[in-house]
Amino acid sequence: MRLRRAIPAALTIILLLSACREAKVAHYRVPKEKPPTLPPAMAAGSGMADASVPTAQGAGLTWTAPAHWTAKPASAMRRGSYDVKGADGAVADMSITAFPGDVGGELANINRWRGQLALPPIGDGDLPQVTTTVKDGPLTFVLVDFDSPQGASPERILGAFTSYDGNTWFFKLKGPAPLVEHEKPAFLTFLQTVKAP
């Protein structure tokens, strides 16, 4: 008889337990987490600094930045970020980003950069005139170099992108035209250091 009462009681308790899972705000203390891996600050006097940056999808491309580029904290959108300073105090911005897929394709990406310099979009037929393809090991970079229309402070974008492991990686140097022109050799040398792990 006891058993006959005990079983329904046990079932009722189980069903009631299901109602006890109310969501609550949790509080806990955890050891400090290492911040997401960012390009380390350039060590003074070192020739080049290694900057190995894993992507959200796992280990990504690695590169070695020129010593005179100053690493900035990578933002949510950036895998790498540098200030490139000129002698006259001018600063250009070097950004390294990666997005899944082809991000709209070659033409869309190039026109996006052109839009940032207030340049009109180009068509498919113009691509061969504005792009240069550089193959470096398993990576093939598409290179572009755009000047903004002449104004008080003309800007220039030196950009490259490549596909790796299902993502498209963008390397963009944007800033005052004379400074970007001056940095072009460093940028091209930098691209040669970009490696797949």
Partner: protein, 385 residues
Amino acid sequence: MREYWKAFVDFFVSLKLTVVLLALSIVLVFWATLAQVRLGVWGVQEEFFRTFFVLARIPGTEVPVPVFPGGYFIGTLLLINLVAAHIYRFQFTWRKAGIQLVHAGLILLLVGELLTSLWQEEYQMRLDEGQTRNYSESYRDNELAIVDTSNPKYDEVTAIPDQLLKREGEIQDPKLPFRVVIHRYYPNAALQMRNRVPNAPPSPATTGIGTQLVVTPLPLTYKQNERNLAAAVIELIGPEGSLGTWLVSTQLAMPQTIDYAGRTWALTLRFARNYKPFSLTLLKFRHDVYPGTNIPKNFSSQIRLTTPGDHNDREVLIYMNHPLRYAGLTFYQAGYDGDHTTVLQVVHNPSWLLPYLSCALITLGLLLQFGVSLTKFIARRRSAA
């Protein structure tokens, strides 16, 4: 009154009820199998099995109506039916001992499934080679983490689960010097840079990276290879007024920070975390394929398990069908991402033994039942001879 009670008991102990419930469960399983194409495994479990009723929307509206009994409904009635029949007809004789054991095994199986659905927790742990982690992350649940990072040694975390975020209300927590107002919660959303979206509406965010982003709500995805990426618009309000409105999203890996009341707080919407009193380090991930193909042959993770104070510091190898069982958790080799990242499935299921016990009971019961029948049959043949 007695007649009513008798009718009530007769209904629950009747074999007809068992047959009807079994027939309904066959239809439910068949329907759910077809729906799996559209909803995926997780969606089917939620919409067909872990629910009392299968719901459908009235065409042209968002009003849900029950159209078929769900897994919980059928399972609960089957359990009641089985237990009631067991109690009502219980007679202990050796002849019936086998049947009793089989039924006890079935009851245990149903109870086990109920407990699993209530208690089981599934998380995943992604580790890059050389990386150490002391927490796993949920596949589907999110949390808003408001972390006081002022102390140089540790972080004080206040985690608000997405069940509360979905209510889009105000949360006053005694550990926080401000109120958290959830203006909008999007269970799945896309983020785009504002300069790429012409005619985008003004950003609800007044500070942080959200001011440069446009959030677009997306329908929930149930596909196994896709994840819902949530976003929310939250405002922090101190005694002297609003401290700002932020857009947070699981797509934004970097926390957004705010300095207030002499302390620094980091805001992140992230996959819900489950911290452990130990940590795992991925030493080496191996991913072998059959020669000349991309078909995985074997993948394994060499892990170092460490507890604070060096009570435990050992290496383990986790590979297919050889999980690590530790501290009530089971770590399965679930997947990989590239050649240097492993994905472990972390399962906490206090009732994991019940299905094994119930199968053992059912086997024992069947052996006993057939054994008794066989013995009788042989004895009868002997006496006839």
